[in-house]
Amino acid sequence: MVFKNLIYSLAAFLIMLFCFSSCTTVKAYQKGKLNDAEMVLGSRKIQKSEMSFQSYREGASGVNGGKTGGGCGCN
């Protein structure tokens, strides 16, 4: 079951790669908005504790910049 999902995930990844290849080229001087601090692709430092408690209080973790192991969260 997990292996089957892995195959689906990789297939989705390849389809996305294909779709992204049709994107327009953006020159460096056109990246004013993309370089804005709010446009950062990823979690910000202030979200670190939020991601910790979510990974402890929920069964799922990963891909959001949070940890996939380490630290107990035992309580």
Partner: protein, 401 residues
């Protein structure tokens, strides 16, 4: 005549501005300080409080009241080498101080035992080398975490490469955590051979986590960028917690038992879009599945509204839904014949809502006119879970440059 003069002045200014865009001399492009300089310091403080009535320490019933005060400092240094590669060194230190009403119930008769509160320390170091010519970056990191009943050591490497036009980037990261769990049993399950007092050394068992992450980012146009993420994570070792009680349907009590391996596949997509001139929409979707039977979906949506170019307010909402693992049953529902069992509601079926807002100010002249104090950010969130569990978190980030 006046119009002609204005046109001529305009043309002159355009010509002048076009000269202002000329390429700087080669020296000014290539000169970069080779001295190690302090690039950035961040302080992040968070206060977290939770409450619920499904503690796994007391078998899926009982208080989950917990408070945690976390403080993290990270210091970033940078320098360039002879080949103009940028080296960034980050030192991070974190301390969590928490009190937990449920941990106190490892001994059911205790009211304020040693396990009612603890301190967690978690230092880490990382080194990143960025090569602008080759558009590559390579990094390594090491981390540790220590609390009374748990120790963790982490090691990781990362690599990324950008396309020629810097519009695409592929990344790979491998991470390993080598942990030790102290085998602290609920007090009534201790026999003379495994009995320890509160401050004795307990036997330990290993729990190792290995993960590999693949990322692909793409700039779609001048306002939209995407990030695709895939993790493959595998855990092996002692994955249950010995002081989690499980009450069977015949009213006998056992220590939680879970399989010794777990394989996880989270897959995610981020999309950030600049709407107009004042609104940034950040979105994130994650699908997760593991071989314990847990499937989950999470959707995050955050809208940063720029009141001025340097002040923004960001309301956010996150929806999360998960199915239960195959080994979960509530209080007094497991059969004595079950091989694996848990009454940990973090692994039960539920959905949750997380709602809040952030406020960020980063003026170019610095906070209070101090050019080194570059940013202040405050964020509050309220979390509500369908298992009658709720929590609140407030965080503060101060950045100095």
């Amino acid at each position: 005549m006046k119009k002609i003069c204005l046109v001529l002045v305009g043309l002159y200014l355009i010509l002048l501005s076009s000269f202002a865009q000329t390429k700087p001399s080669q020296d000014s492009i290539e000169y970069k300080s080779r001295k190690l300089v302090l690039e950035e310091v961040n302080f992040v403080s968070s206060y977290y409080h939770q409450d619920g009535n499904n503690s796994s320490v007391t078998g899926g019933i009982g208080t989950q009241k917990l408070s945690d005060f976390a403080n993290i400092i990270d210091i970033k240094f940078a320098k360039y080498d002879k080949r103009y590669r940028k080296h960034t060194f980050t030192l991070e230190g974190g301390i969590d101080t928490y009190s937990s009403a449920s941990s106190d119930k490892i001994d059911l008769t205790a009211n304020s035992s040693a396990s009612s509160h603890d301190i967690r320390y978690y230092p880490s170091v990382s080194w990143l080398v960025e090569n602008d010519k080759k558009r590559t970056s390579f990094g390594i990191n090491a981390s540790a975490s220590k609390e009374f009943d748990y120790q963790s050591f982490g090691l990781g490497i990362s690599f990324s490469k950008k396309s020629i036009d810097n519009n695409r980037e592929v990344g790979f990261k491998a991470q390993a955590y080598l942990d030790q769990v102290s085998l602290i049993l609920p007090i009534e399950l201790r026999t003379s051979s495994n009995s320890r007092r509160e401050h004795d050394d307990y036997p330990t068992s290993s729990r190792n986590s290995f993960s590999s992450s693949f990322t692909y980012s793409q700039i779609v146009n001048q306002k939209l960028q995407l990030l695709f993420l895939l993790d493959l994570a595998w855990q092996k070792g002692f994955l249950s917690l010995p002081f989690h009680r499980v009450y069977m349907n015949n009213n006998t009590v056992h220590s939680e038992a879970l399989p010794s391996s777990r394989f996880k596949i989270p897959i995610g997509l981020r999309a950030n879009y600049f709407l107009g001139d004042k609104i940034v929409i950040r979105s994130f979707y994650r699908f997760y599945q593991d071989d314990w039977g847990l499937t989950s979906h999470s959707v995050d949506l955050e809208t940063a509204i720029k009141i001025t170019p340097f002040i923004s307010v960001s309301p956010f909402y996150r929806y999360y839904r998960q199915s239960a693992i195959k080994y979960f049953e509530p209080y007094q529902s497991h059969l004595p014949a079950d091989k694996y069992y848990t009454s940990n509601y973090d692994l039960s079926q539920f959905d949750s809502h997380f709602i809040g807002a952030g406020f960020r100010i980063a003026p170019p002249s610095g906070i209070f006119g101090n050019p080194h104090f570059s940013m202040i950010e405050i964020r509050y969130g309220h979390y509500l879970r369908s298992t009658n569990f709720n929590s609140n978190i407030i965080s503060l980030n101060l950045k100095f440059k």
